[in-house]
């Protein structure tokens, strides 16, 4: 008998808010509260609050923690400033992606590795396996952490107005903390770590709080944010938001048999660093000739190509497959990410999507489909 899905520390709040739930990577998480389109637009125009407590957090501590992460992950993590974040990858020996990660340097000798829920255990295992020679400790701290994202143009204002959320003396104010930087706060006398990061293409923050404070923090953020247009937001709009922003989703655009360069993430792999790391040799060898590459597709009308749909050349020959697709709520036309043959990947190439037997014309473009105004 399969295990029952896990519930978030905010589960009771979601039930009270009338959320519809979906099983996601072994967790029962809100897919929407009212209308996923309304939630999507709220985040583009005001703000939304997400519970993403299913994400995994792994603490890496020790004087050689940066060196250890350089030898384990694809990026140069030792170069991070204090309270800086980096998007990085854990690769397998074939150069494929085991998981995509955000790593924060939250202390001189301390890093926080944030993994996708589905990959939390495998990431923790790989880190633990390599830790001993570097004399670092690897601790999966996920069960003690609630992760709340506040995303949208009003996010900073909302956090500033949140009762009881106080920036620690000497740390960057919310106005000062830049994109992919972090600051430290307290709430209910316990620490809250706040990154200016997100997965929506908007400005926003992700708050790592003690599970014991999760419900009170969610409520305080909601009370502060509701007058500014903050709405609770579920995984359905999170997916359309990240797709518009051209951000990859593990299991769709990223996987164990796809090299970073195929996903357009070649720059994420720091081949200039001296250290060896899993996947380095394979990445240096490059993708085999003819390997498919990730592109954006835009189409007209309202019928969207979806994950798994075939992409065809103008002559109707199969040249690729969609990994994510939707009718873009912001743009009003269909958008998709797809892996296509290299000779069909040039921007402006006219292709077609096989939408359940109908051929919908589509044009190759470079993601993101949507960029916020700076």
């Amino acid at each position: 008998m399969p295990d029952l899905p896990r519930s978030s520390p905010l589960g009771d709040i979601h039930v009270a808010l009338g959320a519809a739930f979906t099983d996601f990577a072994g967790w029962s998480m809100p897919v929407k509260y009212s209308s996923d389109l309304a939630e999507h637009h709220a985040i583009r125009n005001a703000a939304g609050i997400f519970d993403i407590s299913h994400m995994g957090e792994i603490a890496v501590r020790g004087l050689r923690a940066g060196e250890f992460l350089d030898a384990t992950l694809a990026g140069r993590l030792s170069a991070l400033d204090l309270m800086q974040a980096k998007y990085t990858l854990l690769l397998n020996e074939r150069g494929g992606v085991v998981d995509d990660l955000i790593v924060y340097r939250n202390g001189e000798a301390e890093y926080l590795v944030v993994a996708n829920a589905s990959n939390r255990d495998v990431v923790a295992e790989v880190l633990r396996a390599g830790a001993v020679p570097f004399d670092v400790s690897v601790t999966d701290v996920s069960d003690g952490i609630a992760l709340i994202a506040v995303q949208g143009p009003r996010a900073q204002e909302i956090l500033e107005r949140t009762a009881g959320l106080e920036i620690v003396a000497g740390q960057a104010s919310l106005a000062e903390v830049r994109y992919y930087r972090a600051t430290a706060a307290t709430f209910a006398e316990r620490n809250v770590f706040i990154g200016r990061t997100g997965y929506t293409g908007e400005d926003g923050f992700e708050l790592y709080a003690d599970v014991r404070d999760a419900a009170a923090l969610w409520s305080a953020l909601t009370v502060a944010g509701a007058p500014l247009g903050l709405v609770p937001a579920g995984l359905a709009c999170r997916d359309t938001l990240r797709l518009e922003a051209g951000m990859p989703l593990y299991g769709h655009e990223l996987g164990a048999d796809l090299l970073p360069v195929q996903a357009g993430l070649g720059r994420v792999v720091a081949l200039t660093k001296d250290t060896d790391f899993p996947g380095r040799a394979a990445v240096e060898a490059g993708a085999p000739a003819g390997s498919r590459v990730l592109v954006g597709l835009v189409a007209e009308g309202r019928r969207a190509g979806r994950a798994g749909y075939a992409v065809l050349s103008a002559d109707g020959e199969p040249v690729g497959e969609i990994t994510s697709g939707a009718l873009s709520p912001t743009l009003g036309h269909p958008i998709a990410l797809a892996y296509v043959d290299p000779d069909s990947s040039t921007v402006g190439t006219s292709l077609a999507i096989d939408v359940r037997g109908s051929r919908i014309p589509a044009t190759v473009t470079t993601p993101p489909f949507y960029s916020r105004k700076k």
Binding site: A20, V31, K32, S35, D36, L37, A38, H40, A236, C237, D239, T240, R302, R303, A304, R306, A326, L327, P329, R356
Partner: protein, 124 residues
């Protein structure tokens, strides 16, 4: 406001309102809610014949694609162009403005559900 107890229901989550020999067909609030926000509706041609139990249209939300099954054998006499232009009516008024097709039929199929049986089916 439609009296939901006067409608017939199918296990495919469609509702049927019978007026003489014409059946007006839509999808239920349960189905609309499960789909999410409907953004595209494709309906059969007016004048075409349909066979009960076969797919005659599509209802797409941001997240997924639902199929519209013809609940009866017959001829399509009207389709709701308002809902084609504004698919959100399927969510906002599934039993009213969000109706989809009208089919002239000769006999209703066996196995249609009444309101009580349908609410039991969806566990409400």
């Amino acid at each position: 406001m439609t009296d939901l107890t006067t409608l017939h229901y199918t296990t495919e989550h469609e509702w049927i309102a019978v007026d003489g020999d014409v059946a007006t067909v839509g999808i239920t609030d349960f189905a609309a809610d499960k789909l999410g926000d409907v953004v595209f509706v494709e309906l059969p041609e007016v004048g075409g014949s349909v066979t009960g139990g076969t797919v005659v249209g599509e209802i797409e939300s941001t997240k997924s694609v639902g199929e519209l099954y013809a609940p009866v054998d017959g001829e399509v006499v009207e389709t709701n162009q308002t809902v084609v232009d504004d698919p959100s009516l399927v969510n906002s008024d599934p039993f009213g403005e969000g109706w989809l097709v009208k089919v002239r039929f000769t006999a209703l199929p066996d196995g249609l559900l009444d309101r009580d049986a349908y609410t039991t089916l969806v566990g409400e």
